[in-house]
Symmetry: C2
Subunit: 162 residues, 2 copies
């Protein structure tokens, strides 16, 4: 499979997961958290799916399309290893949905990020809230949700807080 | 439609067009030309589709994944407004397929690029060869090929040299 094929599958899986989850978090109050703004496409998709919710975005350095940059109040700038542990206070209440797709090509770095997220994300999520992650966060005690049809196993990991 | 939806459609259209064209240029001899390397995903797709053909890539400044960078002999570095008019000599023979997806968000810039490509690309293509372009190149006298099923009109433009 070419990198173009693989990329299309990855981005489509992201969209399909988010679209599915939009119908599943109705019962959970709270904002949406997006880890990594990137070019802003996913943020734009999230705000189309969740027009009534606050969306906080974590980003080290903004390089997105100008139309896809959150207002300052919802942009948490800095290294996620520093900003995430303090985010609960900044955001003020637990989230209904967290989406993270900040894996890189570097396996060791990914393992370090996944372990860090597995430690710090749970405190940021409301009961009934969901984490959607490109990496396995090993969240014991959370409900593992099935992926949408057509999304291959392990491409995304969906966890609901009990 | 969110930018994520729109992006997925655009990249999928590119893949679907290239896959279709791979079955249509068998009768034309010559290399494949790719305008813009970017992250190298499309180049990677082209080399998977055309393992037996030389693939020349035009790029101003290489910033692709290390595994998706052409050998120096097939990388035509520089501003395309300078390199393209001299490319026939460098490449040595007309191409079977040219793919160009270098449009930007800037309409005026796109019109300037499209007019430039419409003047210079025809000389680089063999009879029976095809140009696939994200922009309308206004190639009078060329056969306009139908798009693959599911690709919306004007998302790509496919021209075959008579």
């Amino acid at each position: 499979m070419s990198r173009l094929d693989s990329f299309i599958r990855r981005v489509s899986a992201q969209r399909d997961c988010l679209n599915m989850l939009a119908g599943m978090i109705g019962g959970a109050d709270g904002p949406v958290l997006e880890l990594g703004l990137g070019n802003g496409r996913t943020f734009d998709h999230l705000r189309s799916l969740f027009p009534g919710r606050e969306i906080f975005v974590f980003e080290r350095k903004v390089a997105a399309h100008p139309a896809c940059i959150p207002d300052d109040d919802f942009l948490i700038l800095g290294d996620i290893f520093e900003t995430l542990p303090k985010a609960r206070q900044r955001i003020g209440r637990p989230a209904a949905l967290v989406h993270t797709d900040i894996g890189t090509g570097d396996e060791e770095g990914n393992a370090r990020i996944a372990a860090f997220l597995g430690r710090h994300l749970p405190d940021l999520v409301a009961p009934g809230g969901i984490i959607a992650s490109d990496q396995d966060l090993g969240l014991d005690g959370w409900e593992a949700l099935p992926l949408p049809e057509g999304v291959p196993a392990k491409r995304y990991h969906l966890y609901r807080k009990r």
